[in-house]
Symmetry: C2
Subunit: 112 residues, 2 copies
Amino acid sequence: MDTTAETTSDSFTSYCGATVRRAIDLIGGKWTMLILWELLDREHRYAELQRRVAGISQKVLSSELKSLVSAGLVEREVTPTVPPQVTYRITAEGRSLDDVFAAIDRWGHRHR
Amino acid sequence: MDTTAETTSDSFTSYCGATVRRAIDLIGGKWTMLILWELLDREHRYAELQRRVAGISQKVLSSELKSLVSAGLVEREVTPTVPPQVTYRITAEGRSLDDVFAAIDRWGHRHR
């Protein structure tokens, strides 16, 4: 292996490796990304979200939403109707993931 | 619900939703992303990869690598030493994920 490339590569890892790993811990995961993708489109009620993220269990959806709310990427609004209506929407912080999903979309179109 | 918004939202989803969902299915898992991230840096032998992707089990690493090779994102090279040495490296197709990880890195730096 070319030594120059190796050195560059190591600097590359120490420069942004930790940040990327932390970001992947937060937003990586198939279900997390699919939920974020739906909420980047528009706000959803819990049941809509479960329908749109096909195949997700209620347990996983609830737990994922709790994590996303706690990370400040999604907000949860309860309307005091009977029964109460719970709506989830992306926060400004979550909205800033637009670039990531745009890159995934571009990649997806190239990789067919 | 506003019908116009719903239509726009549905067009948006049908326009890029399927592509993004397929891409997330392929590359969205936490372990998948962490492995790709390491291989975007440089090629690795199996044991190095297991050490670098902290916490991954041998079973999951093997299965993830198999999927990535079968998707054409990673290639596997066996050097016929004793014992044989197995090296994994990103393909050109996998290398095109650079943009996705760059977007994650930028997002990670903003979201602290």
